[in-house]
């Protein structure tokens, strides 16, 4: 029996290389079966839906008749109001604007760039601590701890609390990656506890920052009185949790996929070692070639919408398969080739439209620094296992471990 395309996307057997499935899928740019979601797999169709105001990110607009095969343990704590990732304008715009006031231009143009030295310090600290160069798990030892530390510094979590923060983040991340052998109820409870503790911790920290503000982002968010007013504590909690969750697994996978891809293309790794400026186009091409967010499963139609000749009814669930759009030969020449020298690379790795990745400037910088430092310092690195073992998650796709070896670590 041949599997339906939907099952083939979810089938763990295709995790290491989902791209042939997407190629097949693109023959039907709008794929739909039974009561499942409408799966959109071609570049131009995805991009135009991301700019289509008839498409909502708010799950409350979903008609109950749709079955979502990805529905499972909810990824955000139901006790918190939805974060702006899952809101439509005007609430989305208001919260994103208020958050951005303390993160990016025009009001905070130096926030991300001002973290450059600190990020570099974190990266080199992690490389220093690698230990035995003969067997490195890049995920455990490098990619995983890196983004959590970064978010802690961004939010202003005191150093002595960072370890606790890592534990919660790990538990929450694991719940996003259902392991079929584990008891789902127990995993759900663990994640719920971690969320509750994280929420309580953050609530305490917010109180503390309201009394004694520092120059970190949480202090600014907690005390701001901008043109949009002040965020309520609940809004602030959801936003802080969003920054943590949205910026965690994604960055882990970008760095890990990045190193994996570089090790598979040693000539590019060699060029990056010689010229760290190549990190900029390398990271862009990675976001096209191996995007950490493979698909956006959370969009709903507010009206009947015709896409590529198919009428999608109001209230339907959409899956926008970013990773497939990124390999659409109608958009990118020779799409299955990893080529950091591409000139025209408007990939969908960060989404597009009003929800396009808020943390993109930070994510780019993190990945650029991480990959150029790894390229520079690992002597003669090689893969011990190819393909590596993957996480189950089909949406936030990436290796669970990346075992590599090298001859030594340069200073």
């Amino acid at each position: 029996m041949t599997q339906s395309p939907l099952h083939r996307i979810l089938d763990f057997a295709n995790r290491a290389d989902p791209y042939p499935v997407y190629e097949e899928l693109r023959k039907t740019p709008v794929y739909h079966e039974d009561d499942g979601p409408y799966v959109i797999s071609t570049y131009y169709e995805i991009r135009s839906l991301l700019h289509d105001p008839r498409i909502s990110s708010d799950a409350r607009n979903l008609s109950s008749a749709t079955r979502d095969p990805l529905a499972g343990p909810d990824q955000e704590d139901m006790a918190l109001p939805p974060s702006f990732l899952r809101l439509d304008p005007p609430e989305h715009d208001r919260l994103r604007r208020m958050t951005n006031r303390h993160f990016g231009p025009p009001h905070s143009p130096h926030r991300v760039d001002g973290m450059r030295a600190e990020l570099h310090g974190i990266v080199s600290g992690l490389v220093d601590g690698i230990g035995d160069p003969g067997r490195i798990d890049l995920v455990e030892q490098f990619s995983y701890p890196f983004p959590v530390t970064v978010i802690c510094r961004l939010l202003g979590v005191p150093r002595e609390d960072e370890a606790r923060f890592h534990t919660w983040a790990d538990t929450i991340a694991a719940s996003l990656d259902p392991d079929p052998d584990a008891d789902p109820a127990e995993r759900g409870r663990g994640a719920h506890d971690a969320r509750t503790q994280l929420g309580m911790y953050l609530a305490g920290l917010i109180e503390e920052r309201r009394r004694n503000p520092g120059d970190d982002m949480l202090s600014e968010l907690a005390t701001a009185k901008g043109p949009d007013g002040t965020m309520s504590t609940m809004e602030l909690l959801s936003t802080a949790a969003l920054l943590l969750i949205a910026g965690h697994e994604t960055t882990v996978n970008l760095v890990t996929n990045g190193m994996l891809t570089l090790l598979r293309h040693p000539e590019v790794l060699q060029r990056l070692r010689a010229d760290p400026r190549l990190a900029v186009p390398v990271v862009e091409e990675l976001l096209r070639f191996e995007p950490p967010v493979q698909l956006l499963p959370q969009r709903t139609t507010l009206a009947d919408v015709e896409v590529h000749g198919v009428n999608i009814p109001k209230g339907a669930s959409l899956w926008l398969v970013l990773a497939s759009g990124n390999r659409d030969p109608r958009r990118f020449g020779d799409p299955d080739r990893f080529d950091p020298d591409r000139e025209d690379i408007q990939h969908l790795g960060f989404g597009s439209g009003i929800h396009s990745c808020f943390g993109a400037p930070l994510a780019r910088l993190e990945a650029q620094l991480a990959l150029s430092e790894l390229a520079r310092r690992l002597e003669n690195p090689r893969l011990l296992e190819d393909p590596p073992p993957y996480r189950r998650n089909a949406v936030l796709r990436g290796p669970r471990h990346l075992h590599i070896a090298c001859d030594g670590i340069r200073a």
Binding site: H51, P53, R54, P89, P90, G353
Partner: protein, 463 residues
Amino acid sequence: MLGDGSLERFRREGRIVVVGASLAGLRAAETLRDQGFAGSLTMIGAEPHEPYDRPPLSKQVLLGRASADRTALPRRRSVDANWRLGVPATGLDMAAKRVRLADGDEVPYDRLLISTGVRSRPWPHEDQAELDGVFVLRTRDDGAALARRLAEGPRRVLVIGAGFTGSEIASACCERGLAVTVAERGASPLVGALGGVVGAVAAELQREHGVDLRCGVMVTALEGDASGRVRAAQLSDGSTVEADVVIVSLGATRNTEWLAGSGLAAGPRGIACDAGCRAFDIRGIVTDDVYAAGDVARCPHPLFGYQFLSLEHWGNAVSQAGIAAHNMLSESTDRLPHMDVPAFWSAQFGVNIKSVGAPSLGTEILVAQGSLKEHRFVGVYGYQGRVIGAVAFDQARWLPFYQELIERTAPFPPPFPTVDRRSDGQRPVDADFPDPSVPTHGPTVTLSGYSPADRRMTFTPAH
């Protein structure tokens, strides 16, 4: 040029002359070289400067954040041209294929591109226009002089005309903490380009930022003091505004006078050309060796029933330049039409305004997303039951969607709900454009009928 190798020879050793060395001229030159033109390229420019960018002149430059001489356009590649800067072209002999220059030189060409753009319409009373402190803003030198004067901290600035440029100037003055009066003949700022509904939002923005905005009035006279410095302006409502800087922002005139008598279909509305940027002669016959691009061109556009369309838009200058250059080097079957949907942006009073299509041709508007009151919205313009334009205030990310509606000539009002639909957006209202028979200087998109030889004068200065 038929398949006899003459095109190949032209590409190898032909002579191309570009008159007007600014945005369109430079981008065309770059495309010519990109596409393999190896012959001689001459760039003739009236201004002494290398090609520079104008949008910053009314924005960063007036704020003192960038200096006017740092606005040079980034070069995409070297063009290896013979530059004749600071020497305007004064005539064209199409039969002899020569361009006459102000210094008496004549430059022969095989193919010619005209991209002479527009210039600011001056204050109509010459003696008043010459008062010290009276400015227009079109060139780098204008920008530098005005920025210098604003930095001296004038007591009050008067801006005459609240189109895009005038409004941006007023915004920059406010941001510099200067007292500003804006006098606009229409009912609100931007009314010619965006209509009265959106104009009312623009008016609110100005007033909230402290502009002394006076609409429905005309400036009738400027007065100077004994030393020849401007000191006040008389308004048609009988009032007087004391101002030591006056900026005349009454729209633009096409730079086509130098083509008078050449036989080219060039007039105050621009140079008529076909969809491939080839210029027409006055008999309505398209030439094969003279092309036009940018603000000076008027081209038939498929979205508007192939009526001639003139645009004063940065993006249009770039895309027409690319099309013209490509077509100059192509066999007739390989030529491309210019079909881009017009798009324009402006930054003023902290708001990013962007439009697509031709709002000024709309009769009705629907606020499809957001709210006028919050100054954050998407307005969709309808004309005869179809979507013809859209404007976004701080909502630009949605515009690609509306551009698609325009390209598909989708029905108006759009029959579907969208995110962020408010009470404003329940039904379309009259877009409230000024009577089209009363000329305004506001719109940056104008249609001028089907006749390539149309040389009617439409603007009658009311001042």
